[in-house]
């Protein structure tokens, strides 16, 4: 039983996390977003792709709480299903970027030498592109579509995680316990996995949350430009793009996906800030 207990440092962090206001508010928003995405088939009142042309561009009413778009599709249902699309794109792309970034950044820091030099230079080049431009570039080459958006967003997140992991691992590498591990005869691989990785991950957790917010925005931006998720899959950016023609005459068409996007991004950012307060010892008093 004892083996299943969390270590006290983690327990203390958790206790502090539950008291943090940013984490509470951000966490609640993120939880709603995730639940919406997961439960979309069960909670959305209509099929998000099937419209009734007779109900085209209806303002919010009893039948359609958020109104309908030009094709007569229920905007509430499309917002709910849009959450699912954003959830998939952002989490999968961030997950890929984290795994790749942790491995490349960690090895770069631990091995050092020419490997570190080469990795750092490549990351410098990748980071010198404005975020959206890099994603645009990739999307333009591989073409639109859900999988390709994921690849594009993952690629633009990747160098950020490499850099953060490298910085964190460089610090941990200088810790005395790493030398102590060498002194008892640990192999390099074992030092990397048992000592370096577990102690370098805190800033990655914070950054992953913040990058999820940015990724939702980027994915929406790509879709807005027509380079992202393609119809009929509902997506917030694409919904707003569709609303361009009715900007004034039917504002509900873009207002609701806009609010959903804004609140979700805000939620992830609050959560990220809160995690930073809790996990980053420099901000401790």
């Amino acid at each position: 039983m004892l083996r299943l207990e969390l270590d006290p440092a983690t327990r203390r962090t958790l206790r502090r996390a539950t008291k943090n206001r940013n984490i509470r508010v951000g966490g609640a928003i993120v939880a709603i977003f995730v639940l919406m995405g997961l439960l979309a088939p069960f909670i959305s009142p209509y099929d998000p792709t099937q419209g009734n042309l007779r109900d085209s561009l209806l303002p919010p009413c009893r039948k359609y709480p958020f109104g309908t778009d030009f094709a007569g599709r229920d905007i509430l249902s499309r917002v709910i299903w849009g959450a699912r699309t954003s959830l998939i794109v952002s989490t999968v792309s961030v997950f890929i970027a984290v795994i790749a970034g942790v491995i490349v950044g960690g090895l770069s820091a631990y091995v050092g030498g020419w490997l570190d030099e080469v990795v750092t230079r490549i990351m410098d080049i990748m980071l010198s592109f404005p975020d959206i431009l890099l994603a645009l570039f990739v999307a333009a080459i591989v073409g639109p579509g859900l999988e390709n958006v994921i690849v594009a967003v993952a690629l633009y997140n990747f160098p950020q995680f490499v850099r953060i992991m490298r910085g964190s691992a460089l610090q941990v590498k200088e810790m005395e316990y790493v030398e102590a591990a060498k002194a008892i005869g640990e192999s390099n691989a074992s030092i990397f996995v048992r000592y370096l990785l577990p102690n370098s991950l805190a800033p990655i957790v914070v950054h992953a949350t913040l990058r999820t917010a940015a990724s939702i925005l980027t994915a929406a931006g790509l879709s807005f430009l027509g380079l992202g998720v393609q119809p009929p899959i509902p997506e917030w950016g694409q919904m707003m793009s569709d609303a361009r023609t009715y900007l004034v005459t039917a504002p509900h068409v873009w207002v609701f996906p806009g609010i959903a996007l804004f609140v979700t991004v805000l939620g992830f950012n609050l959560l990220g800030d809160g995690l930073n307060d809790v996990l980053n010892p420099r901000t401790e008093v």
Binding site: P8, E176, A180, K182, I184, G185
Partner: protein, 315 residues
């Protein structure tokens, strides 16, 4: 001889590409030997290079030049030191920072057993760790706790248990009691002594505290600015110190007594910058008896009496 160190040198080079190249001469030609079951105290102030010597001997830091022989085998250029790590261990000053905060005691102390194939199952490992914990004065129940659940003294006991797990012959003790309270320091010194008697361990005991070194060492080496200035038995170092620096250090020691007062004769100045050590004898700017020769010519470590080595022109 268990350990023979000959002309050990360690230089750190910094800068060189855009900034001016600087060479820090941390250790400059240090030689000594260590017998089985013996404790050599290595005394010095900050920047004397004593810790670098300890880590270089274990090849945790690569020597610039010199030779290290362990059990008559030259280990200076062995590529894979890992099998040898079983035989030579280290205990650090700060036990907290020398332990992975995310590992349980069972893993911290048990890893050496697994790495060197000394146990065949997890259960066997845990049993051995329990025995080790008990031997260093901790409870068997502490197995699944984490380092920060312990006091400083208990943590140092854990660090000692880790160092002893693979049954080494030689342990570098790098200021093992400097971060501890006096009452606990005495506990740890006792423990180290009894473990030495029981297992025939050889210690290289690195410390800035002369009184501590007095109480644990058989022989004492005094370092100053990267060099050995005196090496002798503990009785001779404390009874008849020959080097002016050793004398000055001894005069700086404060003892609690009713007659105590601030030290009368003190060494002037401070240890030199290891990037630009003084010419001649490195101690001459602070030395009360230095003369022209000391300013020009570097003294060699000479055997003045059997077993008593001093590097001073005036002795």
């Amino acid at each position: 001889m268990l350990l023979v160190v000959k002309d050990l040198v360690k230089h750190y080079v910094s800068g060189g590409f855009l900034s001016k190249k600087e060479v820090v001469r941390a250790v400059e030609g240090v030689s000594f030997t260590l017998d089985r079951g013996e404790t050599l105290g290595l005394v010095g102030e900050s920047g004397s290079g004593k810790t670098t010597v300890g880590k270089t001997v274990l090849r945790l830091v690569e020597p610039t030049s010199g030779r290290i022989l362990f059990e008559d085998r030259d280990i200076t250029s062995i590529r894979d030191m890992r099998p040898l790590r079983k035989e030579m261990q280290i205990v650090y000053q700060d036990p907290m920072s020398s332990m992975n905060p995310r590992m349980r005691i069972a893993d911290i102390v048990g890893r050496p057993l697994q790495i060197h194939g000394l146990v065949s199952s997890r259960r066997e490992r845990d049993d051995r760790v329990r025995e080790l914990l008990e031997r260093v004065g901790l409870s068997r129940e502490h197995l699944y706790r984490y380092p920060h659940e312990f006091s400083g003294g208990q943590r140092q006991r854990i660090a000692i248990a880790r160092a002893l797990a693979s049954e080494p012959k030689f342990v570098v003790l790098d200021e093992p009691t400097s971060a501890l309270d006096v009452s606990v320091q005495a506990q740890i010194l006792r423990l180290l002594k009894s473990l030495q008697e029981e297992r025939g361990l050889a210690y290289l005991f690195i410390s800035h505290d002369l009184a501590v070194v007095r109480n644990i060492s058989h022989r004492v080496a005094v370092m100053y600015a990267g060099k050995l200035v005196e090496l002798a038995s503990v009785e001779e170092i404390f009874g008849e110190p020959l080097h002016p620096y050793t004398n000055g250090l001894l005069a700086s020691v404060l003892e609690p007594s009713p007659e105590a007062s601030a030290p009368e004769e003190v060494l002037p100045g401070e240890p030199p910058d290891p990037r630009k050590p003084p010419r001649g004898c490195r101690f001459h700017p602070r030395c009360p008896i230095a003369d022209e020769r000391c300013r020009e010519e570097e003294p060699e470590l000479r055997e003045i009496r059997p077993g008593h080595w001093v590097a001073c022109h005036k002795v």
